[in-house]
């Protein structure tokens, strides 16, 4: 009789341990699931950030915009206003056949701060809306960069430099 009771107690003990073990495993799985969910979200944000960075770099060094003078080195962080004034037309004309491959779904704006305050919308391609009519994108990552706006179209012998910024928004 005593042996039987002893055996039952041991059995209960084993069941309790196995139960606790499974509870621990369940907690582990839940923790891992939550962690993976956050990690995937962070990875998506990082990928979007990288795309924003790539688009910014591509735009800053676009031959259609950058300040050049003959065979001399192009000027860093500088857009030629003469090129910029005509870029809007060029970008719109070749949006789907050329620029979409470069920038994908994004919006590129150049804003003049000084001396004027003109806005140049160079590229704007938003993700098409979903079938239910809701917006096609869930996140928008803006990146700003200050640029010099070089104007050679003036009466002075030397070029004038304005102050502005470029705003690049990429959609995911």
């Amino acid at each position: 009789m005593l042996r039987k009771k002893n055996g039952q107690a041991r059995m209960n003990e084993t069941i309790a341990i196995v139960f606790i073990f499974f509870v621990l495993i369940l907690f582990g799985i839940m923790f891992f699931y939550q962690y993976q969910k956050i990690a995937i979200k962070e990875k998506n944000e990082e990928l979007l950030g990288n795309r924003a960075m790539d688009t910014t770099l591509k735009t800053l060094f676009l031959p259609e915009l950058i300040c050049t003078k003959g065979e001399a080195e192009p000027e860093d962080n500088c857009f030629d206003l003469m090129k910029l004034r005509h870029a809007e037309k060029t970008f719109t004309a070749h949006l789907n056949d050329y620029y979409y491959e470069l920038f994908s779904f994004a919006k590129i704006t150049v804003q003049e701060i000084y001396p004027g305050n003109k806005t140049y919308i160079l590229y704007d391609k938003e993700k098409p809306p979903l079938e239910d009519g809701s917006s096609g994108w869930t996140r928008k990552e803006p990146t700003y960069f200050v640029v010099t706006l070089k104007d050679e179209n003036n009466t002075e012998e030397k070029s004038n430099y304005g102050f502005g910024y470029i705003n690049i928004e990429v959609y995911s």
């Binding site: 990288n50 962080n77 004038n160 304005g162």
Partner: protein
Amino acid sequence: MINRKRAQVEIIGLVIIVILIALGMLFMAQFALKEDAKKKIFTRKGLAYSTMSSLMKTTISDQSCSGTYQKWVQPQLGKDLLEDCAKNYDYYSVDDPDSYSLYKCQGLHSCHFANQLIKKLLNETLGEWNKKYVFQVKLIRAQEDKPLTIVGPIKVGGGCPRSKDRDVSGLFPLHTDAGLIESNLYLCD
């Protein structure tokens, strides 16, 4: 025999605990050693540099600017205005903004005008994007030990102390007759 078995079971238990602790520490290390996003670092450093280089190149197109012989001029903020500010800093006082300087824009001393314009430009860009920054221009004279702050410090959001994760534009040195001008812009989150 029973004692031996018990000891074995205890050792297995200990090993499991050690493995669990090691796994926990690995997770913690992963979080602790996580680097800042590449984009954040690139943007901050690039932004500090591009802002400073654009500021230095900006041409003042104000119709009220006069230079030599009181003629209308279009001086560059870095090369002309800051150089003039350094040369005529001794005449300048905040309480007397229209004191003598070669370049006069809106009738103000070049140091005063540069300070005002830089403040406005930075506020309309970095300020609008909720960035914290400190901008200052220092003059290092040969006969003085300490550099003299001739423009700024222009600060927003408490500035960027050393304790904060910050990036600097670089010094953008300018050699003038008055001494060496060093301008820098600190940017932090």
